[in-house]
């Protein structure tokens, strides 16, 4: 027991021991074994911490995904209800649209997205392409709106609402969607 105490002291303050004293202490197989146990104990605790941290990180990631799924579900439900109320009808079209919103949140385009660039294009060309893509009809309440020229980009994988919002950022443009119609005013 006394030797172990000596070893413990040496571990904490090796500077108090000469090289010869260190050599002598460590040449004792028992002391060497105790020393190795201390090294392993430190490593063991470090491994435990790493494991726990990894576990906590995994739980945080899992919780984050659950949160995203729940949030998406709530968003889906909210959009579904709002669209149903706005459009005054329910059915396949509405569900399809909200599903599209659900699967393609407003975000940066992904690699699989197709970006269409309109350079100095007339609004009627832009809305025409949108209508074809989203299976809608376009109503022009203001005929002059057809010839407004714009420079804009369209992510064809994004929901229509995103593009409508982008177009409405232009001062002269006012677009809204009602049922299966795009209305330009």
């Amino acid at each position: 027991m006394k030797d172990i105490e000596e070893l413990l002291k040496m571990i904490e303050r090796p500077q108090d021991y000469s090289d010869e004293e260190l050599e002598q202490l460590m040449s004792n197989p028992d002391m060497r074994a105790y020393y190795e146990l201390m090294v392993k104990a430190e490593e063991g605790f470090a491994q435990r911490k790493t494991k726990r941290n990894t576990g906590v990180r995994l739980w945080k990631i899992a919780a984050m995904f659950i949160g995203i799924i729940l949030l998406s579900g709530i968003t889906f439900a909210a959009v579904h209800i709002m669209r149903s109320q706005e459009s005054g009808y329910s059915g396949q079209d509405t569900v399809a649209e909200t599903n599209s919103q659900f699967s393609t949140p407003n975000s940066q385009p992904s690699e699989s997205d197709t970006i269409r660039t309109f350079e100095n294009a007339e609004l009627q060309q832009i809305l025409g392409e949108l209508a074809d893509h989203y299976h809608l009809e376009v109503d022009y309440r203001n005929e002059q709106a057809r010839h407004i020229r714009l420079y804009t980009k369209w992510n064809t994988s994004a929901p229509l609402s995103q593009m409508v919002e982008r177009l409405n950022n232009f001062e002269k443009v006012s677009i809204r969607q009602k049922n299966n119609h795009l209305i330009a005013e």
Binding site: M1, L8, M26, A33, E36, L37, V39, A41, F45, K51
Partner: protein
């Protein structure tokens, strides 16, 4: 064919932290760990280290491990003790089965040691407190701290032969 500068940069960005973590684990010295990782990238840059395509990461990990082992071999006994490095073959330190045995040993200590002894053991080897600090924290004498630690090491030695851990 020498590796392109951009490829070295990509490897550096992608692998530096993992290599450094590994080097820190093995060398238990921050400066030495940084030097070891720098050596790896210096060897790549001067083309004395050829990385096999598609296996760059694992090759780099093996390289840093070997470099660390070389460095440990060059340390004096005092330096090893000061860093609390194993005095046995450092080649054995990174083997998975050994890591499991070490974790198992700590679990055993937690189960088998009396509460106060486990507490002292933990404060020393987990939190890295000095004996005096442990004594103050627990309101016991430094001498009693030694007794608890000696008791815990004796208990562990009965169960685990360090050579087999």
């Amino acid at each position: 064919m020498s590796i392109k500068k951009t490829e070295i940069e990509e490897l550096y960005i992608g692998s530096y932290q993992r290599l450094l973590t590994k080097a820190r684990q093995m060398l238990k010295d921050d400066d030495d760990a940084h030097d070891a990782v720098s050596d790896v990238f210096a060897k790549i840059a001067e083309s004395s280290l050829k990385l096999p395509k598609g296996h760059e990461e694992s090759y780099l990990m093996a390289t840093i491990r070997n470099l660390c082992i070389d460095r440990i071999h060059r340390l004096t006994l005092r330096e090893k003790v000061e860093r609390r490095l194993t005095l046995s073959d450092p080649c054995m330190t990174a083997i998975d089965s050994e890591r499991e045995r070490i974790t198992e040993m700590i679990d055993y200590a937690e189960r088998a040691l009396p509460k106060q002894t486990w507490c002292v053991f933990q404060l020393r080897f987990d939190e890295g407190l000095r004996y005096q600090e442990i004594a103050e924290r627990l309101g016991i004498s430094e001498r009693v701290v030694y007794k608890h630690l000696a008791k815990s090491l004796t208990k562990l030695k009965e169960k685990y032969n360090p050579k087999s851990i």
